[in-house]
Subunit: 207 residues, 2 copies
DNA sequence: GTCTATATATGGATAGAC
DNA sequence: GTCTATCCATATATAGAC
């Protein structure tokens, strides 16, 4: 309680430790699968002390979820410049996405699960990147279709595009089993996938 | 205990009821997320009575998992005939896959989760469809690449192919939120996707 | 303000009633 | 053979100790 501690706390204070621990466990196990005990152990704190800092498991999850989503914006490169074609923007996005996902491959399946179980979570982040992200690409794709540069329903094209980025990470466990890959071999495959996807996107939707 | 009941039991006996209930709940919630109470309620039986029919939760899951996988073989059309090109085989598979997945769209995310959490589950079904399924398509794609009919790494092509079939169902919740779709609109989009994918696969990997 | 002892609920499994 | 009363472990949350 000394005055000297008042505004000097670094990012290693208890509250931050808890947030980091919670983030790690929630990402691995999801909301329902996470036990507060695990978070407490990871944070090096007593189990019930968590309730002092965050009233409940749901409250803690809500905080982590918001932090987490702000950070996810890094998967969205700056596409505001008009001197890119929609295909180039898709290539840019795919490249950024894979670079980022390779650092935290658990994120993709986590997102699918939490959105699936709790659609309300989407409301929380409407103002962040998601809604714009879809409308942005859909409009660009629709334009390209009109000009005859792409073939097919813009919604379907968008889904195929998103699938090709997200699925290989969301399905990490299945892919490792199915293709019989070690952790290293899997990461190598994902690294190769960056260039593959950029090449693929250049022509895939021309029809 | 009368003799008349011995071999006459239909598929509505308690054991079958439990299996059906377990299948439904496990698919929705996964192994870890499922509470035996829910299965018991769904089956109209006491909670602890489950232990009489199936010794433990894991045993019950194992039974359901096997049944479930046998049934999944329906997503694999007969591709043995040699008079199909690999592209035609991919189109056939995609069509069957979407028809089947529309009947039970929870299956895809369930599979991703269970394979991710428990790689050992894969061993159980090695003799069924999966291993062959991958090697089969990979070999066909590699041949097409050699002949110059396709461009790119066969593994990446396979991943993109699988992504385009599986992801739209695995990400159902996210897609409904992101595209702002009702249940009906989502199913309509998936129905359209069948023809879209068949058209897409015809040219997507030509490079 | 920070954390712990304790309460309450719920999950799964066993032993044994009918 | 079928199901229930009960046990034990674990989960979250509160009240209160320091």
């Amino acid at each position: 309680m000394s005055d000297t501690m008042l505004h000097n706390e670094v990012t290693t204070d208890t509250e931050t430790q808890i947030k980091l621990a919670a983030r790690k466990i929630f990402l691995q196990k999801g909301l329902a699968g996470t036990r507060l005990q695990e978070i407490a152990d990871e944070a090096g704190i007593g189990r019930t002390a968590l309730h002092y800092y965050f009233r409940s498991k749901e409250k803690l999850f809500a905080v982590v979820w918001k932090d987490f989503f702000g950070e996810l914006a890094s998967r969205m490169p700056d596409l505001s410049a008009d001197n890119y074609t929609i295909v180039e923007k898709m290539q840019l996005f795919a490249g950024h996405y894979i670079d980022d996902a390779m650092q935290k491959p658990e994120v993709d399946l986590f997102l699918l699960n939490e959105f699936n179980k709790n659609p309300a979570l989407f409301q929380d982040i409407q103002n962040m990147l998601q809604k714009d992200f879809y409308q942005y690409f859909k409009a660009g794709i629709a334009d390209a279709v009109k000009r005859g540069e792409m073939k097919g329903n813009p919604e379907q094209i968008f889904l195929t595009f998103l699938s090709s980025c997200m699925f290989p990470f969301a399905a990490m466990g299945m892919i490792k089993s199915l293709l019989n890959l070690s952790d290293e071999a899997y990461l190598k495959l994902m690294k190769e996938r960056k260039q593959y996807l950029i090449d693929f996107l250049a022509t895939a939707f021309k029809g």
